[in-house]
Symmetry: C3
Subunit: 398 residues, 3 copies
């Protein structure tokens, strides 16, 4: 009955995780390789405990605050699941219901919601230069509140998607890949195609492709970023990817050919996004309240997208990949040709074939979030994991 | 101090409940008599435990997902109460806040919300042929997800009202009746009038009258369904009622006279609903996006309703019942003449006289829902009940 | 490690709190001095326990229902925090999502949400003569429901702001003052300026100034209520303040000069509110559905406000206070000149200087609410506090 988490504890024993306690999680590339590995180890350990019906509650009471500035099903439920798994109750900060619109400052709100908050999860991915900055404002505010004696604790901030990175997504994606390939040690030299794909909607966030190239390049893989001309992502993140690849012994290349990217790829991640430059422009237009400009830009971008309908993950395209069997990744929901739209990111038959693995990919996110919280809140995570195993309190009576 | 739940355990010992573990709850007539009796026994047992301040938490953590596609106070709170009573935290899937509108399939959503969901409660009663079908899609999706290894468990689905049945309502109604009449053994031969009544609003769901005739006919009672010509309910459910009555030694009859139904009735349930044929037509109009047609139909139905203002549960009508003292039932909220509307389903004075029993009727719903969950989640419910009594953990310190 | 709550238990031992068990909390002046003192003692004790990582859960399950009829961040989160701290799960009664609009009576709703509710928190401050009355209807309904056997318990009602008082705010304000001045015994003779201040918005609730004058006058302080002519608060509450002052040996005076109020004040509370007479008129206009009248009134009130832009808590004004260092209070969010508006209640530099104490002031509210709940739910609060210390169950594993 007892889950075997010894191997996860041993993994943690060999990692330097001394800086994780009380630390926030903003961008994966702000974390060391050991810290990334620790999140994976704890995520797997928590999953093993839960699947063996062992309670992983480390909080007797406490709140997890969620602040979503964009619609969400998956990430919202993943955050709620992670909090519940650890014993925290979720409280949504719904900006519609709150007085934030009444001219309240970020600093003030951050403190007001934090008196009993152990965690704050924020999704703010819409505006370039804003989302990540907002999260930093929040965490600076609560740290100042702690210093001033307003708060008796520092709530941990977890980035649930910003304008730069989507760490819980990219790490769930990667943990899925690790499991599919039988271990992180098998990823060296594998080719990953992070490719733009056509979608009839526009303005999809850049944080997914950026998150993927910023993380997958750390493992010695050959990561190719493919997109039509003009669909560049944030250059700072490309720079991160380049340096990661250099250090890890892999590579990071760019191409304007989806075929080239898919050729012999072990892993493909075809997904739509908006050009970084256009998103910067949109942010500026919104900032100036220029709604006519926003509408004009939208029209222009949709027309631009429509020129690239051939960027789709078709059966033909999949045949180009390694043995025609690359692992297909997506953050979901995908724009599926003939299913959710006429022409989209992926053929219905390709999606169907990969449905089960795609859902499994998504299933890692609650555990990734829980692991981030766990590592930030436990001085000695190994001991806590062992204590949970030893206590063996059933999650549910059966 | 310790609650006496021995009798409930003994009741359960005599029932065949071997198929309840891991099973969903869609329609009462899909459950055996023993299974219905088991829900009542567990509901009463959980109530006794709670009223004796004994904790009934069988979950240490876990989520109960609620998906309401129609407004609700009572059922929403009943579901939340049931989940809380057993240790689950409620997470609402608010379709407005989620990405469901973004072309996401039912199958995908069902899996995405279920990674840590023990229960999914759905209310989807607006469109004929849709609600129950939707629930089956959800449960098939999570069962497939389990088979594919996406989920490590199968969340139980509880029908919180569909287009066909409203099982938690009808069972709460019946458990109330059982208590009022001093036991299920006293119901044989009792006359029940499930009657249409006038309401100034239109389009009220059919699931309540259908749920009542589909359930009450199982207990040897004489169930009369009364409505003006043209206000038929779903014929399949009438067929269920007919067969139930035959088997149980009761009767199921129909009449177009409210007086005839009320005559010597022991129990009356006067309530408005929309004609099944009209609801089918409305579903089609909505399906075609024909909003003018919907508006025209609404006008037509309101005019049709207005021809039957004499279908009201007045003091005069109540005098026709057994000793003038039939038990008055309603799922609430009722349209009360002179209170919530000018002319409605029931006289203010009748409603007032039955307020306390009406509220008691409603009070069974959280326990019915909790019992459905409990039976689906416990391999040996009798043992779990005994363990809860023995542990005698206080629900609250006092 | 163990928190020292002996002194709080001793404080409680010397107070008559025999009427607090099962009682609601509507207005501070309906509570005895001992009862007010008990709330402070328990609030401090709960804070000490939490800050020493000792669980204060007295509920194993149960719901805290929140019903907000006005937007709120602070009070909503304070209520959620208080419930969570004690082990209750919050369930929001969102009137938009519920069927309340369907002609449901207060009595019915109150019972329907209460089957498993231990606490009901209501904010209803918009309409004069309505909010407090509504809360009384709710509590009468649940008490009747208990008497009728509908409910097996009586949920406690906590006033989270009504048209008359804002007890959780005023008590959080006062507990902050007590801590800042080193004990309640140091407040005698201190001068408090509860002053109107200019805001570019209109219609801010009267319950804050009313709550402050109705509470602070009980402690022997010299409370001055200052506002421009015509901005009177509810006369009944002024009468309460007058009587309080007489009994406590302090004073309650009124002035139309902000300078006079600030002169040598130890504590200042400059805040905008709407004239009571105007709010009464607005309530009537809304009642008659006279939206043109409401718009005209709003215009008139904004013009009236604009005549008093000199009523601002400027640096000059602060210099008038005791040593230029009065404690500045505000319920937040404040209208800060040059920050959240062009001209407002307070200078940016003044606000900045008091930010940390202002946030601390707000931090007491969750504990005040939790203390109100605790005292209403515990027959012997001293014993329960001691039991919590003795059990020393960690709130979180670290």
């Amino acid at each position: 009955m007892a889950a075997d988490i010894t191997k996860y504890i041993e993994q943690l024993n060999q990692l330097d995780i001394s800086n994780m306690y009380t630390s926030d999680f903003f961008l994966t590339w702000e974390k060391s390789d050991d810290e990334i590995a620790a999140v994976f180890a704890v995520a797997d350990a928590l999953r093993e405990l839960r699947e063996n019906n062992i309670s992983t509650k480390i909080f007797d009471s406490g709140l997890g605050i969620s602040l979503f500035r964009d619609n969400s099903t998956r990430t919202r439920f993943s955050f709620a699941s992670a909090c519940n798994l650890l014993g925290l109750e979720v409280q949504d900060l719904d900006e519609g219901k709150s007085q934030i619109a009444h001219g309240e400052t970020v600093r003030e709100t951050a403190n007001m919601i934090s008196f009993m908050a152990d965690i704050i999860g924020i999704r703010d991915d819409m505006y370039i230069g804003k989302g990540n900055a907002y999260m930093h404002q929040v965490t600076e505010a609560v740290r100042e509140g702690y210093k001033d004696g307003v708060l008796d604790h520092i709530p941990t901030l977890v980035n649930l998607q910003c304008d730069i990175d989507h760490p819980t997504q990219a790490m769930a994606d990667l943990l899925h890949v690790i499991h599919e390939f039988g271990g992180v040690e098998n990823l060296k030299g594998k080719k990953v195609a992070m490719s733009w794909a056509y979608s009839p909607s526009y303005g999809k966030p850049l944080s997914v492709p950026q998150g993927v190239i910023g993380l997958f390049t750390r493992l010695g893989m050959d990561v190719v970023l493919a997109h039509p001309e003009g669909y560049d992502v944030m250059s700072d993140v490309e720079e991160v990817a380049r340096k990661n690849a250099e250090k890890s012994g892999g590579s990071f290349t760019k191409t304007n050919s989806m075929e080239e990217a898919f050729k012999d790829a072990d892993i493909v991640y075809p997904k739509s996004w908006a050009p970084f430059a256009a998103m910067e422009k949109r942010t500026e237009l919104y900032g100036n309240g220029d709604m006519d400009g926003v509408a004009a830009l939208e029209k222009e971008l949709l027309a631009q997208n429509a020129e690239h309908k051939d960027w789709a993950c078709t059966e033909e395209m999949m045949k180009l990949t390694k043995d025609g069997k690359a692992l297909y990744l997506h953050c979901l929901p995908a724009d599926i040709s003939g299913v959710s739209c006429e022409e989209g990111e992926v053929d219905g038959s390709v999606f169907d074939r990969y449905r089960a693995p795609l859902y499994k990919e998504a299933s890692f996110k609650p555990y990734i979030i829980a692991a981030m919280i766990f590592l930030s809140k436990q001085k000695n995570p190994q001991k806590t994991l062992q204590d949970l195993v030893d206590a063996a309190k059933p999650r549910k009576v059966e």
